[in-house]
Symmetry: C2
Subunit: 453 residues, 2 copies
Amino acid sequence: MSGRILVIGGNAAGMTAASRAKRVDPSLEVTIVEAGPRIAYSICGLPYFLSGRVPNLSDLQLFTPESLRNERGIAARVSCRAVAISASQRRVTVVERAERAEATIPFDRLLVATGYRPVRPDIEGLEGPDVFTASRLEDGEAMGERLRDGTCRRAVVVGGGYVGLELTEALVERGLEVTLIESSSQLMSSLDPDMAAKVEQELDRRGVRVLTRRRVRRIQRTSEGLVEAVELESGGLRIGADLVFVDVGVEPSVALAEASDIALGPSGGIAVSERMETNLAGIYAAGNCAETRHLVTGAATLMPLGTVAAKQGRVAGENLAGRRSRFVGAVGTSVVKVFGVVAARTGLSEREASAAGYSTLDSTITGRFCASYFDRDAEASVKVTACRQSGRLLGAQIVGHPKAASAIDVAATAVSAGMSVEQASQLDLAYAPPVGALWHPLLVALNTLSRAF
Amino acid sequence: MSGRILVIGGNAAGMTAASRAKRVDPSLEVTIVEAGPRIAYSICGLPYFLSGRVPNLSDLQLFTPESLRNERGIAARVSCRAVAISASQRRVTVVERAERAEATIPFDRLLVATGYRPVRPDIEGLEGPDVFTASRLEDGEAMGERLRDGTCRRAVVVGGGYVGLELTEALVERGLEVTLIESSSQLMSSLDPDMAAKVEQELDRRGVRVLTRRRVRRIQRTSEGLVEAVELESGGLRIGADLVFVDVGVEPSVALAEASDIALGPSGGIAVSERMETNLAGIYAAGNCAETRHLVTGAATLMPLGTVAAKQGRVAGENLAGRRSRFVGAVGTSVVKVFGVVAARTGLSEREASAAGYSTLDSTITGRFCASYFDRDAEASVKVTACRQSGRLLGAQIVGHPKAASAIDVAATAVSAGMSVEQASQLDLAYAPPVGALWHPLLVALNTLSRAF
């Protein structure tokens, strides 16, 4: 199947799809248009550039347009914004920053992989210098420069999601005094409150001031326009700050799709078939702009995760190249490391399960992930949640030592397979004293939970 | 359900069963008889006592008969060998070392958990001082004493299975020069040759002399009977040695069962139902003396693993207490750490799958288990094997950095669930740069394999 493949968006989903399509059918002419100046970077690595662990931003880039053309035969046009899609005329209108004029690019099959954009909270004084987000590599460049001049002493992080937590760690490692402000009652809304509390304890231990149930009203600026403090609602607490980092969530970038008659789903993301095709034939969508079927609830949801975006991109790429591949869905598995602990989750939390209408049973245990004589500290809390009626394992959460992180993948696999608590409790997991436990803590949690039925 | 529960064997399966039965029904009178002088120890920890990491052998013991009685209300009689089971009279004849006379213990329900015994190879000069195995804690005591006197400089390890490898590492850590002799063409017969070769490379790097396809003919002893060398067959190579460790495999301890009309299965282990019941009503068997259903082949097999023994013991304990629990089976998941690498496997290797009649496809990749800026060395090879006809994932093997170890549990879960390569390749696994990869190496291996179909 030859033809012209156009991909809008040059990161996880778009890059993967373009590469996969070209690999499946090398005769295809594959073009990526990317609104930003760079393609194929790891935005997840940004906190580690800011902490100083990654020396150069370019270390987070897998390809430049040049290397992509040379190594994979794919054309990438950067600083090139798609502004309209014409399904009937099979072309996309773009504006290239260098040209400042519109141009059109024809396609036979199209992928929309426009990703997400950060939610902008309603805070006075948000616009201007010293306030940063982290959705593009350029954000890290600007923030890195600001940190390099050595005048930053105090930072406020607005939003206690995983990016806020990673940034908090990075800023503390850079020697800043950090206050983390979260409007809801807990950090990490993807965890249940009891598990999130363990993450908050770690931040406390590391000297981070955590304020929950507090909203930022205003960012106070000096007469030169620089940030000098953050003022909270209700009480008017004022926190001195030289820098503010904002991450209060993301939303799918769907303006272009919406304006082009591409249908959105109930979640607000682009509705796609299992083949990642939109309502318009030959036009696909993948990544954080598209919906993902949740394998537990069956619902079309938003899962703004790089892992899911890459898998969707792979399937979309195969279909762009004429194969018939399908993406089955995902279970929302994620992990974050903050200082000495990891927090991981998969499936449904107790709260999410209740919201989805399940009557749940759950159990939480603390277990060790290797023999105590190898690492006395390798402990973590494991929480498992099940459906009271069916006995099905709905989800798991883990907070503790980094050695516990990959146990979430075991739970994710069991959840994806639709295993009952009883089935999962007999999983044949590996043990040797340096790297495991005779009774894997996940099995201990499941055994405990099975007694509740 | 009240009554007298008797358990023969006081380790993984027996201890777990006794504890579980008593917990399910505290009115039960539960007694363990154990032929050796100790109960409830971690034989897997023995290499780490010998290396010096575990200071005292008692650190590997979870319970003494006293603490077991006080904490769990279970009686344990040690140095007490069961010599006959009378199913019709519901009693077991025992010989207590202290008494040197037979006694009988009545039971209402019985568990045979006699474990395994090491295979004794046919080697001249094997009997006598300075030759050790590691099947009981007492073996470690004797070997520890021999090492403590400081006169051991050279050791020969006979058998390249996982215990032989762990012992090799321990002896090297104690400063000994070690030669490892394996009669077959590769170490670790549970791995395919290509994967086992990576373990052999690690031993080479650490200065261990590995001789494969060589058999020991004779252990040469001084006039005082001490070991001075090991002589090989074919060629007559002579290797100077002060100590010999032998681990050439294990077999189920079934002499008592056989003599008592308890039926064995085709594998040579005790045949059991899903409830862990033998052919004799009310008489159960669990652990390394019993068969285990392989969840891939469906065959009754021997899986001499502590993890499987503990799970069987748990199920047997519930049934001893009157519940109706069942053990579904296992997939032979195991892991061993040798110096800087782990070697893990689950399901069927390519060779095992071929032997079981499958036509297989497989793929091997090398991947990194966290971002390179967190640990450049966190690499491992992952091999996945599938059924060519059905597409079902049959097994996986991993050799490399210890961070890769728990990925085998993900594969074990997918294999247990009967997933196809395609299903498993889309598993939603966690990623954050410090603890994972955007494309988990297991998924990379599965994606590569899926292209072979």
